[in-house]
Amino acid sequence: MLENEALNTDNAPLRNIYRFGENAEIALSTHDLHVFYGDNEALSEGDLEFERYKITSLIGASGSGKSTFLRSLNRMNDNVATVKGQIMYRGIDINSKEVDVYEMRRHIGMVFQRPNPFAKSIKDNITFALKQRGMRDKNKLEEIVETSLKQAALWDQVKDDLGKSALALSGGQQQRLVIARAIAMKPDILLLDEPASALDPISTSQIEDTLLELKEKYTIVIVTHNMQQAARISDYTAFFHMGKAIEYDETRKIFTRPKVKLTNDYISGNFG
């Protein structure tokens, strides 16, 4: 349970952001990130680092800016929001002019809250974007279909039915297909915005198992409003509140010994 003595309400810091050591491999980092929808600042002071091959959870009440933050990490909000500050990936700011946004998104993939398979066959869902990028080799494509479906723990259920429409799959299967589709592009980083919130508990736990396996090869950042989920799967957790990253630390510490009162209030269910 909570070790409340660590939490001195009066002197508690307003923010507490974890910094990785010199040796940590940082896959992605944000510096002084601000996001505006028109004049409305939905995110301020986003200042986080994401370590390679780890799962990082973003938690916080609804409307706290988690999606806004996540979606700026691969510029999904390009046409709706204004982003200020830096998002550093392999030494370049992804918002700088020389970055090809389409190329960048192949390195930083995203999975959304509601499963969004294309109205195509299971196989075409996975191969379509690869073919658009000029991959023609049939054997290679088939191999990628198999490996990515296996990684997403869907292969056994669909291997005899690859020509079937993806829309005929169940919600949980669709979401795993979407994950397979994302990893078929061989991204470095996978961003997921509440990927299991529309799913039943069994599908949810399958998705969680999938993510735990994927972490061997991918850096994962996941938004979730399910605190048990964050606690189960993530190595690091960031708590967002009213557009600010309030506290960022190892998941274990966030859930047992938060340093900021707001975090403690949130994880003990006092609001949110």
Partner: protein, 295 residues
């Protein structure tokens, strides 16, 4: 009066109104079919019309209607598709697009006889295309374009943004996503819209009277060179359609069996339009099923 009673009365009135509408429609259809179907025969469908004697058919008019519909769709579908894609996928909300939308709105409510006169003055006279299939097709395109554009736009709009985000998140460009993801997903509904508009175009008369003309010169169904005058494919020949033929017979027909020919032609027209409307739903559903279920 209590709420229950009010509700009962309101429901009864609504049922009555709906029933009246259905009755009216059924009566109209029944009347036309009842009068027309007895005159239908293979001979009627496959023999040329006669101006002075009885026993004429609607062969050329029927072919003209179909050919004109085909040409109209070839011209108007690509334009409507492009405009619909632009309006739904690319256009920003600004004065320019507001003007375009308003213009489309106004165009779609323009009486077809006005479209016909405009086509006559611009295409037939000014551009000197004469009474021809081409002139008629251009007039019908003006008549058809606004509604078809809106129907394409509506079909695209019904595809959730989740699909666009899916494309973007895979590093596909907007164009790639629109063409390979959004368009195929919207296809069933687009096809439904196209077939429904085909029904409207097929039955249109007023826009054609002064553009495609009121005469149906004999066609030689063995000559498929579009540059020959008697070729069915010739675009520059006058081409009275079925709908125009019905109007003409009723206004100035001097055949002894004018009434029967008119009734028969009307029945054919109604049946064709019914087929368009019913098959629109059917094709749309079938396509959607193909896209969404096991293959």
């Amino acid at each position: 009066m209590n709420a229950k009673l009010t509700n009962k009365i309101a429901t009864a009135v609504l049922y009555l109104i709906a029933g009246l509408v259905i009755l009216l429609l059924a009566g109209l259809l029944g009347f036309i079919l009842f009068n027309g179907v007895p005159h239908l025969s293979w001979h009627f469908l496959t023999s040329p019309s006669l101006a002075f004697q009885a026993g004429g058919g609607i062969e050329f008019q029927l072919f003209n209607s179909i050919y004109l519909l085909f040409i109209t769709m070839i011209i108007s579908f690509p334009i409507a598709l492009g405009a619909g894609i632009y309006l739904n996928e690319y256009a920003k909300q600004n004065i320019f697009t507001t003007i375009i939308r308003t213009a489309i709105e106004i165009l779609s409510s323009l009486p077809s006889v006005v479209v016909g006169l405009f086509g006559f003055l611009l295409v037939v006279v000014k551009l000197q295309l004469g009474f021809s299939i081409l002139s008629g097709a251009i007039a019908l395109t003006i008549f058809n374009l606004p509604l078809l554009t809106r129907s394409v736009e509506g079909s695209l709009k019904s595809i959730p943004d989740l699909q666009r985000e899916a494309g973007a998140a895979l590093g596909l460009s907007k164009w790639e996503t629109v063409i390979h993801v959004i368009f195929p997903a919207a296809l069933p509904s687009i096809v439904t819209g196209v077939v429904l508009s085909a029904g409207r175009v097929f039955g249109e008369a007023a826009a054609l009277i002064y553009t495609a003309g009121q005469s149906a010169p004999a066609l030689d169904f063995t000559d498929w060179n579009p540059f020959n005058a008697a070729s069915p494919l010739n675009l520059m020949r006058p081409a009275e359609t079925l709908a125009v033929h019905i109007w003409k017979i009723n206004s100035e027909g001097i055949q002894p069996d004018a009434a029967q020919v008119s009734a028969g032609a009307s029945a054919v027209l109604i049946i064709a339009v019914l087929i368009f409307n019913i098959s629109a739903r059917w094709i749309g559903k079938a396509l959607y099923k193909r896209l969404t279920s096991a293959r």
